[in-house]
């Protein structure tokens, strides 16, 4: 069958079978391709949709992208229940199985290194929102400004409270991030989310990801829960557990490892 290979993730070999009814992107159930002691999780995808040009065009179609993103996530999710997968970025496509093997071979050391680092860890997402301030008119039926000077004074106090709110939100987010970073092994800051896309109310002041050992997840979640409702006007949202998407990217290049070099030879 002619087709390209869509790769979701690389993992260590695992013995528990994946859910049988799992359908990957383009409806092709994920297959396991083992090479050099590593497993690539692969679907066959049609060239008409996943070759470079059509893929590029499709990625601008939000509905299509949503479908692929959900299917990709579905496979990663299923993998997470049986192993610790190293997720690849959406849309990683190879021409054939031998292309996938070549890729594994070229990067096996950094895959192993990253898989070791991620083993038994999950990612939690934490977002902080500053709720939209109620309209000042509605908040207090303030007396109509009697004079221009009163008006300016009112304006100034409104702006000031708005600024204070911002500062408090920033401070809250910074402190929360510090607290959570102490419980987590690693953290990443994502760009704040655009309300137009998220549909969430309020302004996103923190959008962070934390790498947490499974065993430490309960404590982490409690820490987040404790902060909820701590400050009026601030909303904290938790997502997860995710596979460690945000911590997969920084695999060290194969040749750049100089850890083993210093003095090893001279001593012998």
């Amino acid at each position: 069958m002619i087709g390209l290979r869509y790769v979701y993730a690389v993992c260590r070999p695992f013995s528990t079978p994946l859910q049988a009814q799992l359908s990957g992107v383009a409806g092709d159930p994920p297959r396991l391709l083992t090479h050099h002691g590593l497993v690539a999780v692969v679907s066959h995808v049609p060239e008409a949709d996943f070759a470079e040009e059509p893929l590029r065009a499709h990625l601008e179609d939000l509905d299509w992208l949503t479908g692929v993103a959900r299917a990709h996530q579905g496979v990663i999710d299923a993998l997470t229940t049986v192993t610790t997968p190293l997720p690849l970025r959406l849309g990683t496509v190879f021409r054939d199985d031998s292309g996938v093997r070549t890729m594994i071979e070229a990067r096996k050391e950094s895959f192993r290194h990253t898989l070791d680092r991620l083993e038994g860890r999950v990612e939690w997402g934490v977002k902080v929102f500053l709720e939209d301030a109620p309209k000042p008119e509605a908040a207090a039926p303030a007396a109509r400004p009697a004079s221009g000077r009163d008006y300016l004074r009112q304006r100034r106090s409104q702006t000031k409270s708005q600024d204070e709110l911002w500062q408090r939100a920033e401070l809250f987010a910074t402190q929360l991030h510090e607290t959570l970073s102490r419980v987590a092994e690693d953290s990443r800051l994502h760009a704040p989310q655009n309300p137009a896309l998220s549909g969430a109310s309020g302004r996103n002041v923190l959008n962070a990801a934390y790498l947490v050992p499974r065993a430490g997840s309960e404590e982490f979640v409690e820490k987040v829960d404790q902060t909820k409702g701590e400050l009026p006007g601030i909303r904290v949202e938790l997502t997860g557990p995710w596979a460690a998407y945000s911590f997969a990217g920084d695999t060290a290049p194969e040749s750049a490892s100089d850890e083993e070099r210093p003095n090893a030879k001279e001593r012998s």
């Binding site: 893929l55 993103a69 704040p192 997502t239 997969a248």
Partner: protein, 62 residues
């Protein structure tokens, strides 16, 4: 372990991870879609998923 109530994952959270996270593999064999091209997709709705250190998602207008 603790499980957060299972509701459908928000697309925006998913795209934060799938378009900005994950191992990026570039090389002759891949179709080179994985790296920069992907986070610069000319799609209005995706502005926010563009990585903060990628200056403009609309550099190449089509």
């Amino acid at each position: 372990m603790t499980v957060v109530e299972r509701r459908e994952i928000a697309l925006v959270d998913l795209l934060d991870r799938l378009l900005a996270g994950g191992v990026v593999i570039t090389g002759d064999i891949t179709l080179r879609i994985a790296d920069v091209d992907l986070v610069r997709i000319d799609l209005n709705a995706l502005i926010s998923s563009v990585n903060a250190n990628v200056p403009s998602p609309f550099e190449e207008s089509r």
